[in-house]
Symmetry: C2
Subunit: 270 residues, 2 copies
């Protein structure tokens, strides 16, 4: 089943319900994959799980699917909110693609003092996320929020959710005046002290946060400053590394026997 094409649709998915494809998807199925009436695909809509569907009708550019059987039930995931300072276009796309593969539920671009990108097109990023979700077997899509100023983005985090703040200057003994207060820790050690649940991960721009931003971040009661090793990571590398560590320690990469706030999809091979 895993090589069967997998598409995101807007329609509700119920047994024998129909779903129309958009032009690009229709073209992909009929021209690229050379599928036709009677062939099977998999569809998901972020609400109703994943369904086996059959191509019911092909008329010119229009393709209609009929849902036949639910393959996986929808499940709720605890929120994993990525806040990142937008980078150059290719790197921003890359960060959104990888964050989708790694299970971000919300992607929030944040404008910081040293952010280079003047604006971010949320609609374009939503498309990048949609394509990544189709390929990565996700049942939901991350929500791409419009860019916000750093302080506003932090204020909009759920109450009590830790803000894991990747602090590339954390290893610098002079960065916090030599005091240990609010000192950044290796990320895995910091995660050991947190419980599974909703969290934000914040990655700064190339060039890092300004001293004023770092002071405000470190003073924030929800902030958990962390380091990612002795080398300087590019921002998009930090996004992947930090999300992988989070999922491995607190998220849905843990053993299925562990405390499961992030249940896995349930196969419905019946």
């Amino acid at each position: 089943m895993s090589s069967t094409p997998r598409l995101f649709v807007e329609s509700d998915l119920v047994a024998k319900g129909f779903a129309a494809l958009d032009d690009a998807q229709a073209k992909y199925l009929t021209r690229v994959m050379r599928l036709g009436e009677g062939d099977h695909v998999r569809v998901f809509n972020g609400r109703d799980g994943e369904w086996d569907a059959v191509i019911d009708q092909v008329e010119g550019r229009s393709v209609l699917l009929k849902a036949e059987r639910r393959l996986r039930r929808q499940f709720e995931t605890a929120g994993l909110i990525l806040l990142f300072a937008p980078l150059k276009k290719a790197q921003t796309d890359f960060a959104v693609e990888k964050a989708t593969e790694l299970g971000a539920t919300v992607i929030q671009p944040v404008m910081t003092a040293r952010t280079q990108a003047a604006r971010v097109r949320a609609d374009r990023l939503q498309k990048v996320a949609l394509e990544a979700a189709e390929q990565t077997e996700r049942l939901d899509l991350p929500v791409i929020r419009y860019a916000q100023a750093l302080d506003a983005a932090i204020e909009s985090l759920p109450d009590g959710a830790p803000l894991i703040f990747c602090d590339e200057a954390g290893d610098d003994p002079e960065a916090d005046g030599g005091s240990d207060a609010g000192r950044a820790q290796p990320m895995l050690a910091a995660l050991e002290r947190l419980a599974p649940g909703c969290a934000g991960i914040l990655v700064g721009p190339e060039g890092g946060f300004s001293p004023e931003e770092r002071d405000r971040l470190r003073a924030h009661e929800q902030a958990v400053p962390v380091t990612l090793g002795p080398r300087i990571l590019r921002a998009e590398t930090a996004v992947v590394a930090a999300m992988a560590l989070f999922q491995a320690r607190l998220g849905d990469w843990r053993e299925s026997g562990a405390d499961d706030s992030f249940p896995k999809a349930i196969d419905e091979k019946s």
Copy 2:
């Protein structure tokens, strides 16, 4: 100091010793950075640590540096060997760049049954690694090996080094006939059972390993099959995620108080 340009040179580095730059580096310093005689740069050669150097002479396209003061001592790192099936050109470059940022000491392209790339240019990849090392504050360069067949690459691993095998089919209950023998575990849980030291990390091609390859890998005494969560990761994402988890749990991202087989660089601010 961290915004001072940082360059890899071939020359030995000793106090008052000279080092010549190659054409591209010379052009970068004089044309792009607009530096001239008397300006400072940082240099490393993979053997003698990192040095503060002054631009001693600029003549046409030729730039001569003089090493003045050692900033960081060289240190030995335990080997972290990335074995990966080469991908499309851009993704392969990406994997090499990220593996360098994340501290791989050896990068070994491996040819598997489903590897798409027909050949790999080790010299081009070495250049990608060199540029990444310059930016990421590393003191050494990863060694890029010529591509090898999977079995030969595994045989060339140091005796006793675990081969952490990212087994994307590990979650499939039918993948190993329902037996628990050699069953893949979540990577972080598997790493808990290993000691710090030299290790290999193996990431397969798009489409995964063939059933025969998986059987041979799982039967190998050094193999530690691991999973990276419930979603399907692209190969280059798996490279970054697996290396980040390794460094965080067993490598040089750990707390400095931990058992330190991977010592950090020592600052020599004197």
